[in-house]
Symmetry: C2
Subunit: 291 residues, 2 copies
């Protein structure tokens, strides 16, 4: 995913509801004012961060650079100890993960992925991002996934649009994100009528992504959210194309018979990330107990 | 991966070396003769199976169908209790997994993936298959991955070959497996000279697959084996194309600086599966202890 700013999201478990604020300023480290705002909102209870757009972050708890923004092209954030800055300023344990991983954790605890050990959370909006839970744990690996940037077939005869991704041109995000739809059709996704040809193309691209992830991650369910999915008719198109693409090769009743329960919207909507942050915060407190 | 038979592989930890035999007969359940052969070779110590070509298998230890071949189109194997048949015949605990998962386990213990928590084992031969270790455990998910069947861009102007996969045509396996190379160029991969145009195309397809897996699984290393990789010049081509495709988006020194140590051959060669089976056998014995 590529987004233009840093989002600082705060949640308080005590109030049992989520509140959010954002510092969208680019190229800026976390300001004292932003930290004050976090402190005020967090009520000294739980603090969580959901980071977008600042580039790769170090998620390895054993790493000396855990909690850092690492090699981002945004100079203000390069090699910046984001989690540590918050922890030192507020004196609380800090959870740290990508926005989509947090959302996946939220959906696992309270949403559409309860009782699943292996699933995929995807968001299709200003970017395309994915968080995977495998054997009950978040997949981080070497860095963290950047699923939106996989390559899928691009039929230039059908769709001459070259793609919006500054790194890859016509990767999946370059072809199927909200900005790509806007650039291709001259209209935002939410303003395109449901019978517009845009939707079959969009379903085709997203189904290619989903098929590749089904074949690679073998998820028990796929949660599909984000601004582009607000047009709900897109779900049935994607499901149909996904089943057609797999063509019976993955012989699971979940896909071949129950596809409507296999590709589903998240249940927590825009709150998934914040609620997932509460899970991260809880984990951060648990780690504290063990240390 | 699609392969034409069932392979029964036996290994004995006591003899500290691996031996293998195969029952290649299609459409046949495990014969008494094959079981006798297994028993004789296994020396009543460790028995392991590496299964290819019989279709989806149930790998969930808590499932009533654990150890079954499930919904394969090969009628002789449909709903067949493969692991149970061996266990009942021989009276030993039986490990059960896909061939590539077993190979990944072998490489993790004794080969090119020691001390890694997240990596990918790939084999490019008669089919294309992948086994992933995530957070130190095998990725099974809903069924098990079938990574070879992901879709990647196929430039029909450059490569009019329609693909060899009976399910998907020009999925990655359909475009880049050994049989696909043979069908496209009229010559087996091992017989194509190293300056043949086949190799740039092959590197391009495989690099597309690797890029998609890097972006999805974020492996710490990729082990790349199988018959097609016997032409070792293919490694440097693939590495170069992979770095070009990612185009600096995954900013890890492992990829951007140390790609030669990131995409590597397996160290155990053809013995990876058998040795991985010993790991499975050991796990089966450990599970016995706990039960």
């Amino acid at each position: 995913m590529m987004r233009s700013g840093l989002e600082v999201v705060c949640a308080s478990a005590r109030r049992a509801k989520a509140s959010a604020t954002a510092d969208k300023r680019n190229e800026r480290r976390l300001t004292a004012a932003a930290l004050d705002e976090v402190e005020r909102r967090a009520e000294k209870l739980d603090v969580l961060l959901v980071v977008g757009g600042v580039g790769p972050i170090d998620l390895h708890r054993t790493s000396a650079k855990f909690g850092y923004v690492t090699s981002t092209p945004k100079v203000g954030w390069q090699n910046y100890n984001l989690a540590g800055t918050v922890r030192d300023a507020l004196g609380v344990p800090v959870g740290f993960d990508t926005d989509v991983d947090a959302a996946a954790l939220g959906e696992a605890r309270w949403g559409a992925a309860q009782n699943l050990t292996d699933f995929l959370y995807l968001t299709i909006g200003t970017g395309i991002g994915g968080g995977a839970i495998i054997n009950g744990r978040v997949l981080h690996g070497l860095v963290h996934p950047e699923m939106g940037h996989i390559r899928v077939p691009h039929d230039l005869a059908r769709d001459p649009y070259p793609g919006a991704c500054p790194y890859h041109g016509d990767c999946l995000e370059g072809l199927a994100s909200g900005p790509a739809m806007q650039a291709r059709w001259g209209k935002a996704a939410q303003d395109l009528p449901s019978d517009h040809e845009a939707w079959n193309l969009e379903a085709n691209y997203l189904a290619h992504g989903l098929a590749n992830w089904v074949l690679t991650l073998s998820p028990q369910r796929i949660l599909l959210g984000g601004g582009v999915l607000r047009q709900a008719h897109l779900f049935s198109r994607i499901r149909q194309e996904l089943v057609a693409l797999l063509n019976g090769y993955v012989q699971a009743t979940e896909i071949m018979r129950d596809i409507n329960q296999y590709v589903v919207p998240p249940q927590l909507g825009g709150r998934a990330g914040v609620l997932g942050g509460l899970v991260l915060a809880q984990q951060a407190y648990s780690n504290l107990d063990r240390e």
